[in-house]
Assembly symmetry: C2
């Protein structure tokens, strides 16, 4: 166990430095912060199981052993904190592994049991995909589910939206044609994190099958097999766009970002991909254009090869990580007597992880 002195001083738990009611440090300590602060005397109170420090300037601090242990700067404890407390480690999967990672949750249990709710959120965070079964064929299913977690993420299409074949639809998803693999709303800087799709009616025609592919796994394959294509797709900004109007609100959304977004340490942040929502503007030097198309063709072929397929039935709620998974569906017949009707909504990962932490804490999974 190791602790830097300045960090201990900054996190003194006494009533002058820390306010219990707001669960936060008081700011005025920074008015006279001495980054070279030194411990004058160190003691251990066995009765209170606490470390006691007297500082150079006479200030006294006390830290409970359990509090310190949780915040140990050792590499092992930092790894534990990141995986068990901050966010679980994602596990990427190939199309062939779908049967192993596939897991079903009962809608009524998610509404009534915190354990079930936690398991669903955990599975969704780790594998990016979970199926909810036996939801009623009612309009408020997604709202109920989202409110168990926190609240829905509103977008320019409102809180909820219907995917139904519409002649003259203003959005490509609202046609009965095949919908190739894509992520939802790549044109938002703050892209919705979790997509929820509730099947109210399903077409009896042979089509309408769901396609889903773990694009983090696809990116892994690309990184291994075609490193230069990986670099092109993770470095070339693409103009994602959506122009239209809904509920009386006109919008012109644009976000410029690569298909594969990695952070400074090489971890995937998000995948952007949608053929119809890629702008005709492509604001990069002309010589970068053809290599991008070549890399993209590879990515799309691999994503197709790695897709799992299934067909939802009425009462299913398909939930997946929209920063990670690409999804689509095969074409279907749609007539007055053979309708497919899906209701969709979004949740943000900020809100989903917050709930995951609260539930884990309540169940003693972490401190």
């Amino acid at each position: 166990m190791q602790y830097p002195e300045i960090w201990l001083r900054d996190n003194c738990q006494c009533g002058k430095c820390y306010m219990q009611q707001t669960r936060s440090r008081l700011p005025h300590g920074w008015n006279s912060l001495d980054t070279a602060v030194q411990v004058q005397q160190l003691g251990w109170c066995a009765e209170r199981q606490a470390l006691q420090i007297e500082w150079h300037d006479g200030h006294q601090s006390s830290y409970a052993y359990s509090w310190l242990k949780e915040r140990d700067f050792s590499p092992a404890n930092r790894t534990r904190y990141l995986r068990d407390f901050y966010r679980p480690e994602p596990r990427h999967w190939s199309g062939q592994q779908f049967a192993q990672i596939r897991r079903e949750f009962q809608y009524s249990e998610l509404l009534s049991s915190d354990t079930a709710l936690l398991e669903w959120l955990h599975h969704l965070a780790v594998y990016g995909l979970a199926l909810v079964k036996q939801a009623p064929l009612e309009a408020d299913v997604l709202r109920q589910l989202c409110e168990r977690v926190g609240f829905m993420r509103r977008t320019t299409y409102g809180d909820e939206w219907s995917v139904r074949a519409q002649p003259g639809a203003s959005n490509y998803a609202y046609l009965a044609a095949p919908l190739p693999l894509h992520t939802d709303m790549p044109y938002f800087e703050y892209k919705p994190g979790v997509t929820l799709l509730h099947t109210l009616e399903q077409s009896d025609s042979p089509g309408g099958w769901n396609l889903l592919s773990d694009a983090f796994h696809v990116a892994d394959l690309l990184r291994q097999r075609h490193p230069s294509a990986f670099r092109v797709l993770s470095e070339t900004p693409v103009d994602w766009a959506d122009i239209g109007s809904d509920h009386g609100l006109s919008f012109h959304n644009i976000w410029r970002a690569p298909v594969i977004n990695v952070d400074a340490s090489g971890r995937y942040q998000r995948i952007n991909h949608s053929i119809p929502q890629r702008d005709s503007h492509f604001s990069v030097p002309a010589e970068q254009v053809r290599p991008w198309y070549e890399a993209m063709a590879l990515f799309m072929r691999l994503a197709g090869d790695e897709a799992c397929t299934f067909k939802t039935t009425p009462g299913d709620v398909l939930t997946f990580d929209n920063l990670r998974m690409v999804h689509g569906r095969t074409g279907y017949d749609d007539t007055d007597r053979n309708v497919r009707h899906i209701v969709g909504a979004f949740l943000d990962w900020d809100i989903a992880y917050s709930r995951w932490r609260v539930l884990r804490h309540a169940h003693g999974c972490c401190k």
Copy 2:
């Protein structure tokens, strides 16, 4: 003017390749995409002012001159597109320049005039700060303003929140003590983009002054004068956190990110800073801790030196870029007879830029 062949083919505007009603390319072109596609014959139709192409496989395309010009891959046109169409270039300012960049907008004009609305959004995007004057002392002012743009950004504190001195407050902002410079909600990955603060009642005591500092300018200063401190603050992840409950929803929000966030090309993405909302967990190797505190002390001193000060009066709506500005207030007396009451709400930049583009297009500012 220059255009790659594969890009032209991918953006063919004919009815088989592009769907006018959805304003997007049709996806099936990718089923047989030939990235080495070649122009067979090139022509110019003077009457339709359009470029005509016959491709190697016999497919024919036509592109209007105005459409092509807008999408020219030349460096000059790409720069124009990024600044005039995508997002305006921010201009950073020092505390001494506050009088020059300060601009006031009338609430009633923002509600009735699209030109005024566009000017406000533009000023906010470029300078990160704008004052709205003469708003009524009513509860729905921020909702009206946000709905002129699009819609409010909900958080774990709801759509709107009141900042009022409360004994026993669960959030540090709800005390009458001085509130040091900070950004709102650094603990969200999807941090609210624009903060709106409506002054309903103002304390007559000498305190309660607003402090605001352009933290992008502060980061510029740090980068020039203390490059190693800049590197530390832009590379060391910090655990931002908020634990509590509101409207019956318990939350435990955490986001790990540096104070200064830059993208791969060195442009600022966002600033995170809040003393009470910095977690006691600090998940970095112990040897990075003291250098971080030293760099942070420099950043905070510069931010204080560069702050502008003013005191809002009832009816003012202070609006600022929460990804960029740090804000705070001096302490004030708060008694039953001398109340300060601020209502706050958020907008996201995705929604604000969307409206900016729609308004600019309507006013012929860009194509």
